[in-house]
Amino acid sequence: MIKIEELRRSFGPVVAVDGVSFEVERGQVLGFLGPNGAGKSTVMRILACFLRPDSGTASVCGHDILQEAVKVREKIGYLAENVPAYNEMTVGSFLDFVCDSRQIFGKARKIALDRIVPMCSVESVYHQTIETLSKGYKRRVGLAQALIHDPEVLILDEPTDGLDPNQKHEVRGLINKMAKEKCIIVSTHILEEVEAVCTRTIIISRGRILVDSTPEKLKEEHGCSLDEVFRKITRTKVA
């Protein structure tokens, strides 16, 4: 469902993504790992059609990200790293705005909101403005925004960052529940999360893919915990 070919993007002299290619199918949960500045967020932003690649291409559900950006965005649910939202809006009016722009009206909107609000547990803050929310609640609102149209493809950039252990557990449960019928890419620094939700792992550093495997295989090959595998790979292969 997601196909990326030779994606390259640099910011001035810094090469953020350097020839990344991979495919993700329905039913897969891809854990996207890498040290800070490895290019994870850049790849995700390109996939969400927010950034343009310098070269290379990608398609989501058969739609090219350069030619049919709006169609791609319709198919994708995207949660950005810093959870952008309109801070002066209440959670309710913010979700209404997202429904407006995703063309969810009338009955469909009511059904979508009835599904998503309890799912992301934002009932208690529904009438509060977003700027007054804690980091965890903001992230939940971001998650609600990304899931409201029940997208086929989910791109989540550090979805559990800032959440308390209970909320982390809930979000992982949520991802597991949706895993079968969707195609999900999750970036994270929390390696136990990868073991908990991902069926596949890509480790990327300095814009290049170092490893494309499953968490189980990685542990087997290296004979140690995922944490150590990550350190071994990103330190040795880059240096």
């Binding site: 932003r45 969400a48 059609c49 927010f50 950034l51 950006a69 709006v70 169609k71 965005r73 319709e74 994708i76 995207y78 950005a80 810093n82 952008p84 939202a85 309109y86 801070n87 002066e88 809006m89 009016s93 705005f97 997202v98 407006d100 722009s101 995703r102 063309q103 925004q145």
Partner: protein, 243 residues
């Protein structure tokens, strides 16, 4: 144009959920009235609104960029632009939605100056057509300034920079057409060039509409001004949205 209405609705509402709209309206209404009465509205003993309209360019040079500066600069600074442009909305739809929301808001500000019209109607028998074209001209001028402000807001992340740049750009458009500027220019420039400056300045077209004639050349001036700056805003945003 699906995304357009969503952006328009959100943006227009956002004016009234923050103190911005109320501060703007109070300040604008105060000064538009104050300048009119200070410059001898009663002493002139004429039932028209010419004094009122003649003050608007100067007032708009400051007030409109103040409305426009947040349009994109804020969105880029807070990062919400990443949300906006990962929703199924094109850059052009978003630019148009935001621009029109701000323009309608300025329209509301102009409509709220209606007590002036009421006073003039009570005091005498004004030419209603003249007042009407005056409002049309003012609305178009607000649109022109807004499009300029929208561009500078898209060009810079910093609201203060975008405010200052758009005030300068709008002031150039107004002052280039003032008689003093033109007579100064004519001391060292050929007359053809001075005429060109006058035609390109906003003042000449605004005054011509104030005289009560809606001419094609004046209307097209404003349409081109607005369309050009809006198109430029879309292009620069497409390039810089992530920067």
């Amino acid at each position: 144009m699906k995304g357009f209405s969503a952006v328009f609705k959100r943006e227009f509402k956002s004016y009234f959920t923050t103190p911005l709209a109320y501060v703007f309206l109070v300040v604008f209404l105060f000064f538009s009235g104050y300048l009119t009465f200070k410059q001898g509205f009663f002493e002139m003993r004429q039932a028209d609104m010419r004094v009122f309209f003649m003050n608007l360019p100067i007032l708009f040079v400051f007030m409109v960029p103040a409305t426009a500066m947040r349009l994109w600069a804020e969105e880029r600074k807070s990062g919400s632009i990443e949300l906006l442009f990962t929703l199924p909305i094109t850059v052009f739809e978003a630019v148009l939605g935001k621009f029109l929301a701000a323009w309608v808001f300025l329209g509301v500000a102009l409509v709220l100056t209606f007590p002036m019209v009421v006073i003039v109607c009570i005091l005498g028998e004004p030419d209603v057509g003249l007042i009407f074209t005056g409002y049309i001209g003012s609305f178009l001028m607000a649109g022109g300034f807004l499009a300029i402000g929208c561009f500078f807001s898209a060009a810079s992340k910093n609201q203060v920079i975008s405010f200052v740049l758009s005030v300068v750009a709008c002031a150039v458009l107004v002052f280039a057409g003032m008689p003093t500027t033109l007579s100064y220019l004519s001391t060292f420039l050929p007359s053809g060039f001075v005429n060109a400056v006058e035609t390109m300045s906003l003042q000449a077209h605004f005054e011509s509409i104030l005289r009560g004639v809606l001419e094609f050349k004046d209307l097209s001036y404003f349409v081109i001004l607005i369309a050009g700056w809006i198109a430029a805003s879309s292009i620069i945003l497409e390039e810089r949205k992530a920067g």
